[in-house]
């Protein structure tokens, strides 16, 4: 039984029926060669059937209908993606002004990305939150992305735009993935109508286990490395006898590790806190959050008084730049304060 069959059987009849209704043709999954087609902006509106098939073949297009602004976890297929696809997916969600929480799983790592009107406002992993978590998630080379029922974060901890974060990572936005990345995509289908499964176990790995290629699939390299649902051949199968680039068939475990990110480009959040207007700490992560909260409350109060004295009103943000750390304080719309203690980032203005 193939991975596709496994998934079909897991989904149950209701899910299968639902999927068949949405996807009359075979499901297509995205690999490196499909990326360009999938991410292309459609020149003109397609029919419902075509849209549905396209949506299923695309990586998570929960907001493909005009005017839709919120994600629909029950409708979107589970998608697996390599890094570039993940970036592109998020950009699509950003352009679609999606509001929702997305679970990203990469191996044993998992994290959530919170989008409001397409803006990345919060990110969290088991170890970090805020921009540091967003950068960590975006740096994952392989993984899966799916909508989550998790509650949107009440406060904003990511202030850089998605574009800036990707620029931080040196991602070539919109570029095609290299053969190394494409060959390592472990694509699997997860039944989406089975209900929200991720909420309490965000560390669950949804990647399909590596499966041995069936004899009939052993020829084209991509079929051997990418689990496909359905029997549709790849768009550009390699001719038999043509030697694939070595990195295409290299097992994931022996790939060179990703290049370390430059220290300048990876701000490291040491701690972050959220304070109420009364100075009560609502959230705190990292080291010495009590001290950070006290410093933030004091600085914020002084900044408010200074702003009042010089007739400038309430500040929107205060940056306290030291020789080795920087503290960024922001006034939230609900009156709360969010603050993070980071290693300094170079000024970009």
């Amino acid at each position: 039984m193939s991975a596709a069959d496994d998934l079909e059987s897991e989904a149950g009849p209701a899910t299968q029926a639902s999927r068949q209704a949405q996807v009359p043709a075979q499901l297509e999954f995205v690999d490196a060669e499909d990326d360009e087609e999938v991410l292309e902006v459609e020149p003109e509106p397609a029919g419902e059937e075509e849209l549905a098939r396209h949506r299923a073949g695309q990586l998570l297009r929960s907001t493909s209908e005009p005017g839709r602004s919120t994600s629909e976890p029950g409708r979107s297929a589970f998608v697996s993606a390599h890094q570039s696809s993940l970036h592109t997916l998020l950009q699509i969600e950003s352009l679609s002004r999606t509001t929702g929480v997305f679970l990203v799983v990469s191996g044993d790592d998992s994290g959530y990305l919170h989008l409001v009107e397409g803006e990345l406002v919060h990110a969290e992993t088991g170890r970090r939150s805020g921009e540091a978590a967003a950068l960590e998630i975006l740096s994952w080379r392989h993984g899966s992305l799916e909508p989550s029922q998790r509650t949107l974060a009440p406060v904003r901890t990511v202030h850089s735009s998605l574009h800036n974060l990707l620029a931080h990572l040196g991602a070539d936005v919109g570029s095609q993935p290299g053969p190394q990345e494409s060959s390592q995509s472990q694509v699997a289908q997860r039944p989406s109508a089975a209900g929200p499964l991720d909420q309490d176990a965000p560390t669950e790995t949804y990647l399909a286990p590596p499966t041995a290629p069936a004899p009939a699939e052993a020829g084209p390299v991509l079929e051997a490395t990418v689990s496909r649902v359905g029997s549709e051949p790849p768009a550009t199968p390699r001719a038999p006898g043509v030697e694939a680039p070595p990195d295409v068939v290299t097992p994931r475990s022996v790939l060179p590790p990703p290049l370390p990110r430059s220290e300048r480009e990876t701000p490291s959040t040491l701690a972050d806190v959220v304070l109420s207007a009364a100075g009560e700490m609502l959230q705190g992560r990292g080291a010495a959050t009590e001290e950070l909260a006290a410093r933030v409350a004091y600085a914020a109060r002084l900044a408010e008084l200074i702003g009042r004295a010089i007739r400038s009103g309430t500040p929107r943000a205060v940056e306290l730049r030291g020789k080795s750390t920087q503290t960024l304080v922001r006034w939230q719309g609900d009156g709360n304060l969010s603050a993070s203690l980071d290693q300094p980032q170079p000024s970009r203005r």
Partner: protein, 152 residues
């Protein structure tokens, strides 16, 4: 004795967009100003001690460099130097690296000048309000009202 003049602050206007600046000493006392009259000295004197205390919000093991206050339409870049604080009103689009460099230079210069001046610099004079009626003191005016003569 060095004499500090507000002209020294005009060098900051080499940076595009700088609206103006002022300097407070380590205790927050207003020393110099180069700002439009819409910002009065009373406000700056009120803000000064708070600016001086702002440096206390830094971690003990991390010497402060600067503070940036972001308001809706402008920012106030506050650079700490040894003997005081230099506060610069800038637009959000200001060239930050250039501003930091200019503030560093000026801060070092102010440190030297203030260290060389044992006496307190002359207090910043308030902007002189326009007199409502220029009248010379001692000169009386004479009015005649209903036949009566009045001298004011």
């Amino acid at each position: 004795m060095a004499v500090l003049s507000s002209d020294v602050l005009s060098s900051l206007k080499d940076i595009d967009g700088v609206y103006g600046s002022f300097v407070v000493d380590a205790a927050g006392g207003l020393m110099l100003r180069d700002l439009p009259g819409v910002i009065d000295n009373a406000g700056l004197r009120e803000a000064g001690p708070r600016i001086a205390r702002l440096w206390g919000a830094f971690p003990e093991d991390d010497p402060p460099d600067y503070v940036l206050l972001e308001f809706a339409a402008h920012q106030v870049f506050i650079k700490k130097f040894e003997l005081g604080s230099l506060c610069i009103f800038v637009p959000p689009s200001v060239n930050r690296p250039a501003l930091r460099m200019a503030a560093n230079f000026l801060g070092r210069w102010l440190d030297k000048q203030m260290a060389a001046a044992p006496e307190a610099p002359p207090p910043v004079s308030e902007p002189v309000p326009e007199p409502a009626q220029p009248t010379s003191p001692g000169k009386k005016k004479t009015y005649i009202f209903r036949g009566q003569r009045y001298e004011v």
